[in-house]
């Protein structure tokens, strides 16, 4: 095949997909803004996406905070700067690792679950059934998941920040002879409110992307069980890529201001 034609075809394909995702997202957001609303669904999704993700997010950032503390302590030691470890751990967790790790865990846990559930509903005609029962699938299925992820990922990030910093604190006080009170004080004095807020803004955007990818790939699943499996894989992979891409874009914007 002519390579120029191949590049052109794949570019057109990507643009087509980007357009389809944008239209899908717009329909989901429009369903959030206008009645009828399905509040029961919203509550259920807040619980499923947010509350039940707490243990996995907590464990991941606890270990990451601890490992980060050790690495920074060792790296800082090369410049005789071990004492800045609490501040760097706090900054790394709050601005970057807290929101990104929470989002990546959510991509694995929630995006996959959403794609599988909605994909199975598509395969078994349950989405068609919703329409025949005068219920818009975007209002009943998509909007509640988008909203729940946008609300809960920042909340999960707050918890992740606290647990991640605690992971560093545990290592510092248990194995590196840091004073516990001083560690907390240094961390608290160093962080600015913008450090925390910028991390939470990132988290809200990541939450939207995670839910959007799960919903989009599940809703457009075709080809039975194999199609549902493919939708699940695509949801997780595309959510992870979008998280890292959006992270870079937002970080470069936030560090400029």
């Amino acid at each position: 095949m002519n390579p120029v034609r191949a590049i052109g075809r794949s570019t057109l394909g990507m643009l087509r997909t980007a357009g389809a995702v944008a239209v899908f997202a717009a329909r989901g957001v429009a369903a959030l803004l206008t009645p009828p609303w399905f509040f029961g669904q919203w509550g259920g999704q807040l619980l499923a996406i947010g509350f039940f993700s707490l243990p996995v997010v907590g464990l991941v950032v606890l270990f990451t905070g601890a490992a980060l503390a050790l690495n920074i302590y060792v790296g800082g030691g090369r410049f005789n700067a071990e004492q800045i470890m609490p501040q760097v751990v706090a900054l790394g967790i709050v601005r970057e690792l807290g929101p990104v790790l929470a989002a990546v865990m959510l991509a694995g846990r929630v995006s996959a679950a959403i794609a599988a559930e909605i994909g199975a509903m598509r395969a078994t005609e349950q989405i068609d059934a919703l329409q025949t029962l005068s219920t818009d699938p975007f209002r009943y299925l998509i909007a509640p998941r988008l909203l729940a992820a946008v609300i809960t990922l920042p909340l999960l990030t707050v918890v992740a920040d606290i647990i991640g910093v605690s992971g560093g604190w545990l290592v510092a006080t248990a194995t590196l002879n840091f004073s516990g009170a001083l560690y907390v004080q240094n961390t608290w004095n160093f962080l600015t409110s913008w450090d925390i807020v910028s991390g939470l803004i990132k988290a809200a955007v990541f939450g939207f992307l995670v839910a959007l990818m799960g919903c989009y790939h599940g809703f457009n699943a075709s080809g039975g069980a194999r199609g549902v499996g493919r939708a699940t894989t695509h949801a997780v992979v595309s959510a992870a890529i979008l998280i890292f891409a959006a992270d870079y874009i937002m970080t470069s914007f936030f560090t400029r201001s």
């Binding site: 009828p36 399905f38 509903m121 078994t124 005609e125 349950q126 068609d128 059934a129 329409q131 025949t132 029962l133 005068s134 219920t135 818009d136 009943y140």
Partner: protein, 255 residues
């Protein structure tokens, strides 16, 4: 046909990945009549019924209900139109996350905003009509047999007293006794509600039982239509082959 059609498809065409599935389907069903569309696998029966019910848009052609063009309705207008319909899906398409009674009362609760206790009562009555006891109301679809799921699907389809009922392969996957139970229930419910019914099936026993008329879809077109009683002497070679179930004839490989 004396009365103005309740449901009408005019020149409906649909293509998937370059393959013409419907190639100008014209179909009209009078109020209170039951039409069964038969045809081989992959001939576009499901696509026809989904276009009629507004679940799919045709590439060309129009759909009319009570003489009104409803082909491209959206949003609230589409939801209002769907309120006229009841649909029994091939696999019942029950929501597995909801108990049986919430499945049956789904439209009442979510679209009509009926209070939960009233909706539950209506669901239990609907269950009784399809021969299921009230104890089934709190079970989940996964706990029901295929036949029971079809009955619940039928109860859901008729719960809000629709004007048009669609049945997509209502007896597929059922043993002959359960299939007959479903056929009888369909006949009873269509009569009780006085509604118009459109069914698709390749089960001729079912077609004869639930249809006033039968139409055959082949190569994207309606090639024969007549009273259900005439199906055995249609004079159409395709219909004759389909009815007799012979491998040799104008249709090859079931198509």
């Amino acid at each position: 046909m004396t009365a103005a059609p309740k449901l009408e498809l005019k020149g409906v065409r649909k293509t998937f990945n370059g393959k013409k599935v419907l190639d100008g389907v014209d179909l009209a069903v009078a109020p209170g009549r039951s039409l069964v569309i038969i045809g081989g696998s992959g001939q576009g029966k499901s696509v026809t019924i989904k276009i009629a019910a507004g679940l799919m848009r045709p590439d060309a052609g129009k759909v009319f209900i009570d003489g009104k063009d409803v082909t491209r309705l959206r949003g609230a207008a589409q939801r209002k139109r769907a309120a006229q319909f009841g649909f029994l899906f091939q696999g019942a398409a029950l929501f597995d996350s909801l108990p049986v009674w919430k499945n049956i009362a789904f439209r009442l609760i979510n679209a009509d905003k009926t209070p939960q206790d009233e909706a539950r009562e209506a669901a239990v009555v609907a269950l009784g009509r399809v021969g299921l006891s009230p104890s089934v109301a709190d079970l989940y679809p996964g706990e029901l047999s295929g036949g029971m799921q079809k009955r619940v699907g039928l109860a859901r389809a008729v719960a809000a007293r629709p004007e048009i009922l669609f049945f997509d392969e209502p007896t597929t996957g059922l043993d002959p006794i359960n299939a007959d139970v479903i056929n009888n229930l369909i006949v009873e419910e269509v009569k009780r509600l006085g509604c118009t019914a459109v069914s698709i099936t390749h089960d001729l026993v079912s077609a004869r039982k639930i249809g006033d008329e039968i139409a055959m879809l082949h190569n994207g077109k309606i090639i024969w239509r007549g009273p259900a009683a005439d199906i055995d002497h249609s004079g159409n070679a395709y219909v004759e082959q389909f009815v007799s179930g012979r491998a040799d004839g104008p249709m090859t490989n079931g198509g």
